[in-house]
Subunit: 249 residues, 6 copies
């Protein structure tokens, strides 16, 4: 058993929570009970995750997408229902959005690179002064082969814009929504791996003659949480659970 | 019995909630149960008011000082405890801050003028494009007499800066914290009646040779709520209760 | 033959170009030749559209997504290539982004409503003071039937989140990316029809027990241009062409 | 006799005037005569202080609350009268607001700690990136005893919110108006000592079961000036005078 | 003899002082004596004007360029000397910057048009939502002839960029510094008349094949003051004086 | 022959392009052909310079005043004509505005100091955190002599405000438009040398009893480019050309 603050203090420091300017309120968004035995990890702060968390006896739930973006003006509708559930069940909600994308050990992007057995060479795609994305080298393979590997390691079904050269050696990675950085990615890699498809990506990739693999918003953002889970296990003697709530959409 | 939205829609319109730029989130801050039989009115959103509200079976609590100022970043500490209590007990929290100071029927300032049997002549003390304060004429009296009347109608013990002329005919009123407008008040009246004492008021009043009566932050902000309570009673067949939680400080 | 400014002056006024605060520079973004005989209409400002426009002898190309968002800092890479092509070929580029979503005659949203034989009842989903979306009533039908109709009139293959009640009578519409307004849509309709799927939509729709039809970003934004094309034809004796560049993705 | 700039250059550097983002224009606000023999120190820039300064032959007056906050738009009314007096009498006005609250040697907070024979342990209560308040340990005593000591060393009559535990070992200090930081103070100390009472403090302290001593806005802000006076005496061979203008209110 | 406020109230309303967003603090910048017999008018708030104003017994000085731009942070150096002089001599300073450029009766631009016997057709050159410049028709003449007329009516020696057609029928006017609007001016007139030469004007005029007459910053800004002087004379029984302090540079 | 990026990468680093907050988009504003043999240098991005650049076979044109200030919203009129010309002729445009004023080796200000055989002592005149101007000592001479020297080394005809003492030993320099810093300059030097005359300079210099030499906006900004040209020649084996387009106005 640990005091809540022992764990959140560790997370705040390890994830450098205060270094990021982010619409998301990062850190302990909702304070639940003061002691923690079981820590849950899930991508989205939603009722489905919360119900499972409760069932599983989770005291502290760590998420990538929290409940508070840009400050809460009103507790009505969905926001109210979700917050009410957490408060009544005394489940704490800890959020790490950009800090978990960009982290150099457990970050989503560095973890995807690792799963693809690539070697990271640097960061790119700056957001408010901090580079979020990762790029580097992988074993040479064709786009179709890379798609298979991505699907396999992330357990997903990617969609591909195959407008670039077929041989891939250099990749760049931005979990979640990375279409905004396609042009920069095309200058440092042969293919961008990102999560969610955006309309604006199509013609940009086409005209740059560049490849983009969309591996799913959800799927690209589970890996950082899983790595963080391991890290927490090394450090604290708590029970940890990954709560998988894919949208399959 | 009414649907919650029937009452809040009325309040939003009657108080012109959306006309004001205010740090306070005005309107329904916390959504409780969907039906309303009992409406409570109190100055401050605090545990003491909430506990009484619960005891009295309040479904909807209308306050002057709500829980959300400038957007809520985190639900921790006091904020969490208060919100948790309201959510668990399904008490809705409706907030009217500046809209209740400045309202031309039930506003705190116009109501204080009325209690002093004065006749309002206009508004002053602009905040983001809207004038909040009220000024006008009262029966001629000495400062000491005016203090007595204020103490009597607001049930308070005022503190007085008596630096101006002793005969009062014109008064100006800003409930709560009105020291910022002393100079403007001195141009249109013989005495400002406001709530809370601020250090910056002393020398300004002294050099302007002007009178200020500090009638208490709490005390000057009960009257608008009481007037709104009456208005609501006229309009809806609900039980209404004023919850008095003075700080006596 | 018309002077360029005769047509752009008409468009500026008819579409109320200056009423909107929009990241997009709305109006004549790139000035081409001074006289206009052929006007092209296409959704995206991209090389594929430009090449077709050139082939078809287009003098003025009217688009929904232009080339300038938030001011151009540098003319490098793709931006340079696209602008160079237009300038060299003297093709003018006129952009109507939000003004074409929200227009009450030729707007994307009002046009989709019309194609579904619905009757508009009002606007919703405010952006910087202007409501962009449309809601109203259609003939009662099941979600699956509505999806078929949407697919048929927009020539698309929609994806559906069918979490709400099956009988649809009231619909709400936001072309392009409308996930941000699902909660508001759920209060005034049984189903939201929008363009692009966003990850954040899934759990919101699920918890609201609400239906969302994603008809494709591209497909929901062709209809306003087509309506504007008709309008222009009524008014000016020019040749008009719709340039279809779907992404099929 | 010194040149004015010799003294103001020293103050600018010693107080790190340019490190703070502050509504107050810190530094030499009003330039008077070029040579300085007598330096006055007073809390507020007001006519009463100015008249005494003149009588006492002050060339340079150093204050905590100056005349310019957020830029002067107009020289009318009180502002004009005060500035006119200083200019006509060639008295320079030097202002140190936040730089004098937070200074680690002569700051108001560190000085109050010293007067209470406490040992400072750190800073808290961040304002625009700089921590203003001081916290630390004192000899264990009861709240009532602490109040007596505060009253004695600051020559004041404090008001106390005694909602916390009676035994005090850790205290936190914010001169002037420190109610905004009660919650943070309650996490690192048993009692907050601050200057001015604010309505919002009451219920926060009550619900946190925390003690607050309000020692007066004026009284808590004399000590930094007195310490700075000593410092100046060590460094320059000038006559120095503390001008006491309490409001006793 | 009038109370100061009688005249400034009239000016505030007549010049619509509060309608403009302007770096200049428009209105009564420095309050002098309460009664007014003599009103001076001059372009620049500078010592030379002030000294003459004093000599001439001016109580209220009305200027185009005042002393406060964007808020005064410090009263040091020149700012201090000028303000000190006005305060000591109790000369009030009233400023009308953009309100006097753009006014439709006494504005600098409309007055220059009148002096050139032109007929105004409209306003152009928007600044924060208000159009400042004037354009219209004059008797047809050559550029060289227009320059002569400008020199004659404004008592100046203009510099001319004669890159446009020689026959002038339409002119546009912006007093002071109008180079920022050359491109707009070239679309509605044959020649822009403005005050001060700016480096950026040269190539813009050249490439637009457009004429610009630079009649001097000072000279283009005396006419509005003179017209306002007449207006004031009609309205108030005061002595008025125009104080001419040309820079001849 | 070099790749374009080899030269622009060098310039970005050598000129510390990213250190400055500047309205000008500094760096490669317009991308032309990928390889560079001839580099042109000119003060203003205008058609006259561009035509000469083309004639001379320039691949990359380096300017002080570029085409993009504060982001380009529309490509119309002059902006369009200029950009079209560059794009069609594949001439790259590289801009160094403040970075070239303030540079400590090739900056305009340090270069003017050098041409006057002065010794720099420091920087002054801060803009967004960076000091732009240079001050230092020269051989003692009279103002009239200094004017002659300035005219000779800059090949210009200066205008002089000779309000200060006649003997000059200390000078301060701000190329282009430096009137905003006259007061600061007067505290550290006997004479300011700047480019463009501004109306506001006259009375400030007069009241400060200070000298200002206006050497021409154009003329004061050729020297940095010429020094940069030399630097580039040392580093790269390219043909370089200075394109002189004075305005003589």
């Amino acid at each position: 058993m640990y005091y809540l603050y022992e764990i959140t203090d560790f997370l705040d420091e390890y994830l450098q929570i205060n270094k990021f300017r982010d619409l998301s309120s990062n850190g302990l968004q909702i304070e639940g009970k003061g002691s923690v035995e079981t820590v849950g990890f899930t991508v989205d702060a939603c009722m489905e995750s919360f119900l499972k968390a409760k069932e599983l006896g989770v005291d502290l739930l760590i998420v990538h997408h929290g409940l508070i973006w840009g400050g809460l003006k009103f507790l009505k509708g969905i926001a109210r229902k979700r917050i009410k559930f957490l408060l009544e069940n005394e489940i704490s909600l800890y959020t790490a959005h950009l800090p978990l994308d960009a982290h150099d050990e457990v970050g989503n992007n560095i973890q995807i690179m690792k799963l693809l057995s690539g070697s990271s060479e640097g960061f790119f795609a700056e957001h408010e002064g901090i580079k979020i994305g990762v790029f580097g080298e992988i074993e040479k393979m064709e786009v179709s082969e890379l798609k298979k590997r991505v699907d396999s390691v992330l357990n997903t079904t990617s969609r591909v814009l195959n407008f670039g050269r077929n041989e891939i050696e250099k990749i760049s990675i931005i979990s979640g929504s990375g279409s905004f950085a396609i042009e920069e990615a095309s200058q440092i890699s042969d293919c961008l791996i990102t999560g969610e498809y955006r309309h604006e990506a199509y013609h940009v990739a086409k005209e740059l003659e560049f490849n983009v693999i969309f591996a799913g918003h959800y799927e690209t953002e589970t890996v950082g949480l899983k790595a963080l889970m391991e890290k927490l296990n090394e450090r604290f003697d708590v029970r940890t659970i990954f709560i998988d709530v894919p949208t399959n959409f």
